[in-house]
């Protein structure tokens, strides 16, 4: 392909002050690389939070009785829960679904008492959606044929000073207002490593919670999706298919504190990206303006030759575009190795903080991995080209408005 004289002029102009061009490209590249790394981190964090929420037992979606969300009243039960569960499992895009019910209760061992939320589960499907109960430190998880068995967290066990096979007295307020009690044998103790999460785990089989509370049925169906991107579509399809009186919520609605925490983090990271891009932008504007001022006589001559403002703008935008393109390539060369490291090795927050990473009883992985993908290329182009072109607007305007007579007069 042969470049037109205008194209040659634009590209060769970048070689006039090669050191300035190199520094500009490096500036754009560094800004672009930092933005790419921060974006990869945000995306990775977003995936991590979503995965943590989905596998905390909440699922990507949760079917709840209508009216549950505002009050979070766990005494409400799903309408035709078994039908709702079957529909959920048959809906395309759903990887697994499990029913649950919850009740506040007291666990007692000797003279020691602990208040916990007792969760009635289906032992066959619960571990698929709840990675917490996969972390059995002692004993085993519940089985479908268990009778009077419970799995508790290490924190609960520590408070009650109990061990495997000890028997706990569980007391809940039943539907009729009376207290109901039962004896539960500890078959497993969960050790996630998070004090917060381990202090809340207490699971029994769903039919046993139904019997204990006198409230038949499940209060929720947690739904795990094959692909999280399909969440809105599956939510709509499921809502349409479910019996009336049931509502499908996303994990974002169920765990707003978790989403808010992520949004806050994301906001700060975006602010950082914005600040870096602004600094780069001002740097490019300054360099481009210096270049335009040096070439003021040249623009006056071009104008005298009949070059229109739009053509002068096109010339400078071509130069800026080439600069932005080189900046994007530099940004990718600098940023991709760091993103690759963060995507494969990750950042281990466990090495910096002793406290566990749990928000709203959702266990967050201590190792954060950045997201790496082909998206880096268009993102780098958008950041570098966008910033360079925006930064060039004022110098372009300045050059295009050069008055040929006065510029030539001053030059003489």
């Amino acid at each position: 392909m042969t470049l037109s004289p205008l194209g040659k002029y634009a590209l060769r102009s970048l070689t006039r002050h090669s050191r300035r061009t190199l520094l500009s490209v490096l500036g754009i590249g560094i800004g672009c690389a930092v933005a790419l790394i921060a974006t990869a981190y945000i995306r990775g964090e977003g995936d991590l939070i979503e995965r943590a929420a989905a596998l905390s037992g909440t699922g990507h979606l949760r079917v709840s009785p209508a009216g549950w969300l505002p009050q979070r009243d766990d005494r409400l039960r799903l309408r035709d829960w078994q039908q709702a569960l079957a529909i959920a499992r048959q809906t395309p895009g759903v990887a697994a679904a499990t029913p649950r019910a919850r009740s506040n209760g007291l666990l007692a061992f000797g003279t020691r008492v602990a208040g916990v939320e007792i969760v009635g589960v289906d032992p066959a499907t619960e571990p698929r959606l709840n990675r917490v109960v996969r972390s059995i430190g002692a004993g085993r998880y519940l089985r479908p044929d268990d009778r009077g068995a419970t799995v508790i967290g290490q924190g609960v066990a520590d408070r009650l000073r109990v061990r495997l096979d000890d028997e706990l007295l569980v007391t809940v307020a039943a539907r009729d207002g009376n207290l109901q009690s039962a004896i539960l044998r500890i078959v497993g103790i969960v050790r996630t490593g998070s004090q917060t999460v381990d202090s809340t785990v207490c699971q029994i089989r769903l039919p046993e919670l139904e019997a204990l509370t006198g409230r038949p049925g499940a209060a929720e169906v947690a739904v795990l999706l094959e692909r999280s991107e399909e969440m809105p579509a599956v939510q709509a399809a499921l809502q349409k298919a479910l019996p009336a009186g049931n509502v499908v919520h996303t994990w974002i609605e169920v765990l707003p504190e978790l989403k808010a925490s992520f949004d806050l983090d994301q906001g700060f990271t975006r602010l950082l990206i914005g600040t870096i891009i602004l600094v780069v932008l001002l740097g490019i504007t300054s360099a481009q303006l210096a270049s335009v001022l040096e070439r003021r006589r040249e623009f006056a001559v071009l104008s005298a030759l009949g070059m229109k403002e739009l053509s002068i703008a096109r010339l400078l935008l071509l130069e800026a575009g080439a600069l932005g393109l080189l900046g994007a390539v530099t940004g990718l060369l600098l940023g991709v190795p760091v993103v690759y490291y963060l995507a494969t090795v990750g950042i281990d927050y466990g090495a910096f903080v002793d406290a566990d990473l749990a928000i709203s009883n959702v266990l967050i992985d201590k190792v954060f991995h950045a997201d790496m993908g082909f998206w880096l290329v268009p993102q780098a182009l958008a950041i570098a080209l966008g910033a360079t072109l925006v930064a060039t607007v004022y110098p372009v305007w300045f050059a295009a408005k050069t008055d040929p007579a006065s510029a030539l007069r001053v030059a003489q």
């Binding site: 060769r12 040249e298 001559v301 104008s303 005298a304 030759l305 009949g306 070059m307 229109k308 030539l408």
Partner: protein, 229 residues
Amino acid sequence: MNQTALVTVRDVTKLFSTGRSEVQALRGVTLDVRRGDFLALVGPSGSGKTTLLNLIGALDSATSGTITLLGRDLGAMNRRERAELRLHTIGFVFQAYNLIPVLTARENVEFVLELQGVGAERSERALRVLEELGLGELADRRANELSGGQQQRVAVARAVASRPALVLADEPTANLDTANAEVLMGLMRRLHDEHGMTFVFSTHDPRVVAHATRVVTLQDGRVAADEER
């Protein structure tokens, strides 16, 4: 209006304001430039030669009076229309050559043709013009690799490439030695004689004035003499 006039200048004044002081560069100039003129504008420094060239070339606007080029009133044109007029009607040769340093001689000529919307044949056309002016062997050399005299000849090639109705040259030989000045003036004169091009150039140099067919003398912003040769 004189029907043979390419340019008419009627009672034109130009006032420059520089801060608190004002400079009256032209004080009522009236002049016709006819088709085929090879006109030298002479006069001492500050007499208004460059100002008058800038006004005729639609680079600047008169404070009062009217200037027409090919019958069009320059004062009534906006920036865009003036740029369009310069592009298609006027060729400029500057004192300091003002070639684009990063382009070759051929690309400098081609660049103007590209601005005029000439298509694929512009490269051939640029080379033909350079060859016609004896600059063929310099075609692929960058402007900053050429001597002053060579640069100025390329500047002339750039100015005449599209056969404009009028070529304006502001002190074209001021930075050239005598030999190069002679070569340049000979070149411009040849273009005038062979193609009937109209040239208006300002100069201090009596050897250059000798080539002119008409000499207009400016003094204190007025036409002091208009002599045919």
